[in-house]
Symmetry: C2
């Protein structure tokens, strides 16, 4: 097959430095930056005047198919939310629901500039199909929980291995699979030890929730005589291939463990605020050199997947929590949402920044709007003033997924109708 | 002049209840709701399928012309921000800067569904001109501060009265003028007493900043032997025509004073978080029956004027601060941004809700988007999932200001260019 090329011409490129220039995408990679690039050489030319080009955003903790439960239950205590709404609905989930929910999530992510996500949920081969068809990049994991039940545990092992065998390194390498033990309070030590062993043997990563609520920390302390990261460390679970989501309730010694072991974290401020879970000491951990990334969590507790909004809320929350407006600056949180996310997923050599030779995962943001005027530091505008609706064009793995806000890999109108019908079907089963 | 009519057909109307229906706008008012309205009777027909119709949002504390300083200085201590960036820039402001800055703000507000604002700044006749031309509704006040200097005080009196005489009740009643003493720590007791007297005599309202920072509260306690609202009450300043912005650092007894006197508050969560000023006890005050409204503050400390985003951040912040996800529910914060805002400005009989006989200040939001699918409680989607970019059509005082995202009262492209040039001119003077 002949190589396909896209030229993004005369834009502002947010690379290691911020420069005006053009970029040539060849096949799946960034081939040239800022040279005298001739429009005639490219199959497709995108005019970038008045726009800024950023690395595609990376959402490192979400549950894509939960888009179908967006707004299903708000303003409730976590227990009520889970027991009366989320879990009963999830009990009726079929593969088709997860496929359509994930597809809806892909549409939403592309339209708000996200090109890579890290998902944990159920029917993950259906989620992989959505990601593949949408053209996005994703790390997926089957959410495992055994609550100490051996039969359930075996079933979780089987499903996790099925998803790895079926989906890992598929879609031209756009889809990878991790192991996804839900959390230390829902998974037995046996399950966690099996995950650690299999992850190492198979060279796959681990995605887990840790210390989202104060309640679960107390629970772990009572059960295992140690705080969650102390317990996970003691059983040999932690390594630099582990991504822990939330990580709110942390002691100083746990932060030291996280740093020593090279554990990656996904910060989820909107969900944490909406469920009143707590505030992760993010700016403190950044100072310690811990790898922080950013995630929206599922749409049922956010209630969107907009990483531009997530960046703003992350920065505001840290400033407020530290009573210091100088912490988690725009540049810091932008890095969390790009290269920090790539690092968290072990993908930092391929994505997360705009460099020749890296994968062409890019989002072009239209800055010609009243709320982004006057033009100034583009990263400040992206973090503090922009929203997902400002994203104009998105490229993932060298392929155009959206141009001038039109989705190119799916029919948006049909998808929205399908999502409404699929939601009705899901809710009719309860 | 013959009456002009607009029919918004087959939409979802967020009134006292949420119903499907149509609305007929005649001249400046809502003439009929939900009757068998015939398209042939209206001069303009707007199709509302897949959209929801809300009262135009009301931003009760902002500094419109500061859009020119958007992103000028982020992630700084309040002192540095004010002394090194904002005040030196403001020292060079001319009327033309304030006119263009306010015009840019109007464009941004209309595009994000706001029809009414409450502004305090300088060159307010220029701001009034922008509001008039844009078709918006606004309460404006000249920001007065004397720092105890008698000559400065007299000049402030003169300018305030000039603005009242020139602008109050102009633009078919769309523009009103308040008196705007900046804050208790920047205004002398003499100034505040004069403001109280003039406001009562002239029947204009008062707009003031109170207790934004802990520092200023300490300052007031040292100077006046009482906390800010205690001091203001003692000098007879407080009444139900006073709107206090921020109101973060409040004692129990101050909350009682606010309630007893019927003082209105404007909550500004994004600015308060970005500058790490503190957290207003909003949900507690709502429980006490205090009138709360919502404002974005100026674009230099937010950095946008998006009231949909402000609603989400307000709700998240209260949930987090109270460690209770059930507080400041979507409905509560939506009311703050609509009828609460109208009440805060003494405009509750004319705007803030969709009722026959009220002014036609309306925003139509497009719900056919991935991040607003599946369709569910529309107020939840507006608060937690939507952003300003979802606003489709805006009407103020019965006049279309935006249709399908095209501004009708101004040339957006020319305005953005003008704003860039005007900003360059402003910054070149320092």
């Amino acid at each position: 097959m002949e190589s396909q090329t896209i030229l993004i011409k005369d834009t502002i490129i947010i690379g290691d430095e911020i420069n005006k220039g053009s970029i040539l995408v060849e096949d799946d990679k960034i081939a040239e930056i800022n040279r005298n690039l001739d429009s005639n050489d490219a199959d497709t030319v995108i005019h970038g005047e008045g726009k800024v080009l950023i690395p595609g955003l990376i959402n490192t903790h979400t549950h894509l198919s939960m888009t179908l439960m967006r707004g299903l239950a708000d303003d409730l205590l976590l227990d009520t939310w889970l027991n009366d709404h989320i879990w009963p609905t999830e009990a009726n989930l079929k593969g088709e629901h997860c496929y359509v929910g994930a597809k809806l999530a892909c549409a939403e992510m592309i339209k708000s500039g996200t090109t890579t996500c890290n998902d944990m949920y159920f029917f993950m081969d259906q989620v992989a199909k959505s990601l593949d068809e949408s053209g996005m990049r994703g790390n997926i994991s089957h959410g495992m929980l055994d609550m100490g039940d051996e039969e359930k545990r075996k079933a979780e092992f089987k499903e996790s291995l099925r998803i790895i065998d079926k989906c890992h390194n598929t879609a031209d390498g756009r889809i990878k699979v991790s192991l996804g033990p839900h959390a230390p309070y829902t998974c037995s030590t046996e399950l966690l030890k099996w995950v650690r062993k299999e992850a190492t043997q198979r060279g796959v990563r681990i995605h887990i929730h840790v210390s989202e609520t104060e309640f679960e920390v107390k629970n772990i302390i009572e059960t295992y005589e140690g705080r969650p990261f102390e317990y996970l460390n003691r059983i040999g679970f932690l390594d630099d291939d582990v991504l822990a989501a939330h990580a709110i309730w942390l002691s100083e010694s746990e932060m030291e463990i996280i740093k020593d072991k090279g554990v990656k974290l996904s910060h989820n401020p909107t969900s944490n605020m909406k469920l009143a879970s707590g505030i992760s000491p993010v700016s403190k951990m950044l100072d310690k050199g811990i790898n922080l990334s950013l995630g929206t969590d599922g749409a049922a507790s956010n209630n969107n997947l907009d990483m531009l909004e997530e960046m703003k809320i992350a920065s505001l929350l840290q400033k407020m929590n530290n009573f210091d407006p100088t912490v988690l600056k725009a540049d810091d949180v932008f890095k969390m949402a790009t290269l920090g996310g790539a690092t968290a997923l072990g993908w930092e050599h391929e994505i997360g920044s705009i460099k020749v030779g890296k994968k062409a995962d890019l989002a072009l943001i239209n800055m010609k709007a009243p709320h982004l005027t006057p033009y100034r530091h583009p990263i400040s505008h992206l973090v503090y003033s922009a929203n997902g609706g400002d994203v104009d064009t998105v490229i993932c793995n060298g392929k155009l997924l959206m141009q001038e806000r039109e989705l190119l890999t799916m029919n948006e109108k049909e998808l929205l109708e399908d999502a409404e019908e699929t939601t009705k079907d899901l809710l009719s089963r309860s």
